[in-house]
């Protein structure tokens, strides 16, 4: 994908026709895989993300287990065909860093102390990538954790804001991320105003950054409502199944 001349048109609309503070279309589904203890699927624009949770389960080797709580492990991984140039399936340095920050974004939400000496594994697979996959991964993984019945303080939800052609914009897609001026991915537990992931790259004044954080949080809150709806949909479906 080569660089577009402009990221905003005359009316201030974005390449895909969105307004500056508008999210991409989002679709979520909970409980999509059979073997996992919990799972979820999410589409956000062209991003397609699958997450699965296994656990709480035994830890091997045993000396890695903790006496007073579960260990949370996380792997963020991109399918080789998820991006423009085929990606080697071996984990890249970027994937290793993202696995770490995603784990640390989810960890504050989980009551790990309920399951001493166990492990909870989160696997995130990016099937198609179009910018903002770490945020999409967190949103999806939180649903999978809930689906697995792992007790949490709140759902974790993530969204980025950034700056394109001089304006702050919500939920950047790949071209905006690549050719824009800044990107601020943020994850939070909206119920308790806790920011659990925050990264930034690019260039922003303090004032712009402050606004970008606010914008990302607004995006998070919208997605949070969708998360709750998706979870409800699954349990309604189960209920109907039982009543049939």
């Amino acid at each position: 994908m080569s660089k577009p001349e402009k990221l905003l048109d005359k009316k201030g609309l974005r390449l895909d026709g969105r307004k500056l503070d508008e999210l991409r279309p989002i679709k979520m589904e909970v409980g999509v895989l059979n073997n996992a203890d919990g799972s979820a699927y999410l589409e956000q624009g062209k991003n397609k993300v699958l997450a699965a949770v296994y656990g709480p389960k035994e830890v091997h080797p045993k000396h890695l287990a903790l006496a007073d709580r579960a260990i949370l492990r996380c792997r963020y991984h991109m399918a080789p065909f998820s991006v423009e140039e085929r990606k080697s399936p071996a984990p890249s340095r970027r994937e290793i860093e993202l696995s770490k920050v995603i784990r640390e974004a989810l960890e504050p939400a989980v009551f790990l102390e309920y399951y001493p000496r166990t492990a909870i594994d989160i696997f995130i697979e990016i099937l198609q990538a179009d910018g903002g996959t770490r945020c999409a991964g967190i949103t999806t993984a939180a649903l999978a954790l809930a689906d697995a019945g792992v007790p949490m303080r709140d759902l974790v939800v993530a969204c980025a804001a950034g700056k394109v052609d001089g304006k702050l914009a919500l939920d950047l897609m790949d071209l905006e991320d690549k050719y824009g001026e800044a990107d601020v991915p943020l994850a939070m537990m909206p119920g308790i105003n806790a920011v659990t992931l925050l990264q930034m790259d690019g260039s922003l004044t303090l004032e712009e950054f402050q606004k970008a954080v606010k914008m990302a949080m607004e995006g998070c809150k919208q997605i949070y409502e969708m998360q709750k709806k998706a979870l409800k949909a699954k349990y309604v479906a189960i209920k109907e199944e039982i009543q049939e």
């Binding site: 895989l33 059979n34 073997n35 996992a36 799972s39 062209k46 397609k48 699958l50 997450a51 699965a52 296994y54 389960k57 792997r75 991984h77 399918a79 080789p80 065909f81 998820s82 991006v83 423009e84 140039e85 085929r86 399936p89 071996a90 984990p91 594994d121 696997f123 697979e125 099937l127 198609q128 990538a129 179009d130």
Partner: protein, 265 residues
């Protein structure tokens, strides 16, 4: 491959049913599970398809890049098949480099495509000895409920049939893209049919519970001309000569049924 008491009970149960020609999930011995094929679901990939075989779920993406040919076939494109048993698909899959199971899976899928000459590799040469197209077929197992080989083979074939290459011209040995796309030149349609041997009987399309108790596995890949193009025996048991011959005949029939699902949907 099974040690615990619980498993032995299930093993016995599965075996007894099969002796009566019935399977735990109600299928007949030569029945496949329900099959769903969706092609073109990954827009970023040049080709893609997802296959649901019962609860087994496999996604295949095809990517095309430019690279160097192998020295012994300087005028042919390169085919590369890779399989990832990603850990979200099963509690038995571990993160890490491909193990013997994923390597075997990739190589069996590769063999079907390569030996049936499914892709016209000779049409994928850009400049002999220097530049050819490389076809990457990535098999991504999303949920493992048995018989990954057949599901992966079907998904690979569906993805190949769905693959588009951009048009180009050569200017000073450099590729210059032109408007439009052409389908990948596909000449044959290999289809794998896998058997499990349980209690000395053959069952088609073994699912996970059957795989856990079966003695051995036999995969027979046939092409659209009804020739056999690839075979793979797996598992720690054996087959009799008669079982092998029976299997080839059933494989031919079953492959014909499956092929229709992919080629003329």
């Amino acid at each position: 491959m099974i040690s615990s008491i619980v498993s032995r009970v299930k093993q016995k149960q599965i075996a007894q049913l099969i002796a009566k020609g019935i399977r735990l999930d109600g299928r007949k011995l030569t029945d496949y599970r329900e099959i769903k094929i969706e092609a073109g679901i990954i827009e970023r990939a040049e080709g893609s398809a997802r296959v649901l075989l019962g609860k087994t779920q496999v996604l295949v993406g095809v990517k095309i890049e430019v690279g160097e040919p192998f020295p012994d076939v300087p005028d042919q494109g390169v085919l590369t098949v890779n399989a990832e048993l990603v850990p979200l698909a099963s509690p038995t899959f571990e993160p890490g480099p491909p193990d013997e199971n994923s390597i075997e899976l990739a190589r069996v899928v590769d063999r079907g495509i390569r030996e049936s000459k499914a892709i016209a590799l000779e049409e994928l040469c850009i400049k002999p000895g220097k530049k050819v197209f490389i076809i990457f077929i990535d098999v991504y197992v999303l949920n493992h409920d048995g018989n990954l080989i057949d599901a992966s083979g079907l998904a690979a074939l569906a993805a190949l049939l769905n693959t588009k290459m951009y048009n180009y011209e050569l200017e000073n040995d450099e590729i210059v893209r032109k408007p439009g796309y052409t389908p990948l030149p596909i000449r044959n349609h290999p289809v794998a049919v896998t058997f499990g041997k349980i209690n000395n009987q053959l069952v088609v399309d073994p699912w996970l519970e059957e795989e856990q108790v079966m003695d051995a596995r036999l995969t027979i890949t046939t092409d659209k001309n009804e020739n056999i193009c690839a075979i793979q025996k797996g598992g720690s048991g054996y087959f009799t000569t008669q079982q092998i011959l029976d299997a080839t005949k059933i494989a031919k029939e079953k492959a014909e049924e499956l092929r229709k699902l992919v080629v003329e949907p």
